[in-house]
Assembly symmetry: C2
DNA sequence: TGAAACCGGACTTGTTCAGTCGGATATTTC
DNA sequence: GAAATATCCGACTGAACAAGTCCGGTTTCA
């Protein structure tokens, strides 16, 4: 299976929504959840991760919410995925958890070619920024 | 999560192993399982799928086994994945199961950009053939 | 006839994902 | 200061999926 998680999908939709708003305007999680019919609690957690990673700023309390912390052109899709998943999208387990995680590692014959595919995929996610999604 | 399944990993290792043998030589599932310490039963099923998709030929009975059905240069990695998983590696659910599978579809704002990422990834898997892995 | 090999469905187990719940903290407004 | 609104965050549940196992079958050859 090679698929983006729902969390990442929601995160992309959400941060794009925030990016469409004029500079300085603040958006609540509820507004996003209602607009796109995304489960509120789940979306909230995704937004918290984006906040902890510094992609968006949060404001608590009444009239609180979220705003972009960087310019859209500075946020590649790969950064959004990393913020939510905790790692880059890695095509094979041994690439993210190291050789010990793979009991076939020493005898594995596809490491090298897969690394090249991996590089291609990273490039795909790195070169597209938020500004191209808006 | 964006990761290749173990089945695909085993399939790649296996078909590569078969491809390294001289033309006409037949390889058993047991030999491959032993060489790479892959669970035999699981590997057997992967090989069966590769057979049904026409990538390799199988021979039953004593001295049976598998051999390549096409030239390595004619087998892109994407074809191997498709044979094992049943579909191309699709980054989002709505791309493989259609709009009905996604209850956010009509309001989803990231379809178009994701399609572009998808195209990049497909290219990565299409351009690499078995002959580059051997 | 028996051994070696592929064929293929059913099953178990473990992990991960999606979603929910409950309570805590911060901020504004009245 | 109290109430309302919002983020914060850990724990939990249920469903889906992946990985691996089991078992009975078929084909072929010696």
């Amino acid at each position: 299976m090679v698929r983006l998680s729902k969390k990442v999908e929601y995160g992309l939709i959400a941060i794009r929504h925030i990016a469409t708003k004029p500079f300085g305007e603040i958006v609540t999680a509820k507004e996003i959840a209602d607009t796109y019919r995304i489960p509120y609690e789940l979306l909230a957690k995704v937004l918290q991760k984006l906040t902890k990673s510094g992609l968006i700023n949060s404001h608590q309390g009444v009239h609180g919410g979220y705003e972009l912390a960087m310019r859209p052109g500075e946020i590649p899709v790969s950064m959004i995925i990393h913020a939510i998943e905790g790692t880059q999208p890695m095509i094979a387990q041994c690439m993210v958890e190291g050789p010990e995680s793979c009991d076939v590692f020493t005898v594995c014959t596809i490491k090298t070619p897969l690394t090249r595919v991996q590089a291609n995929i990273e490039r795909a996610f790195n070169t597209m920024t938020l500004s191209e999604i808006v």
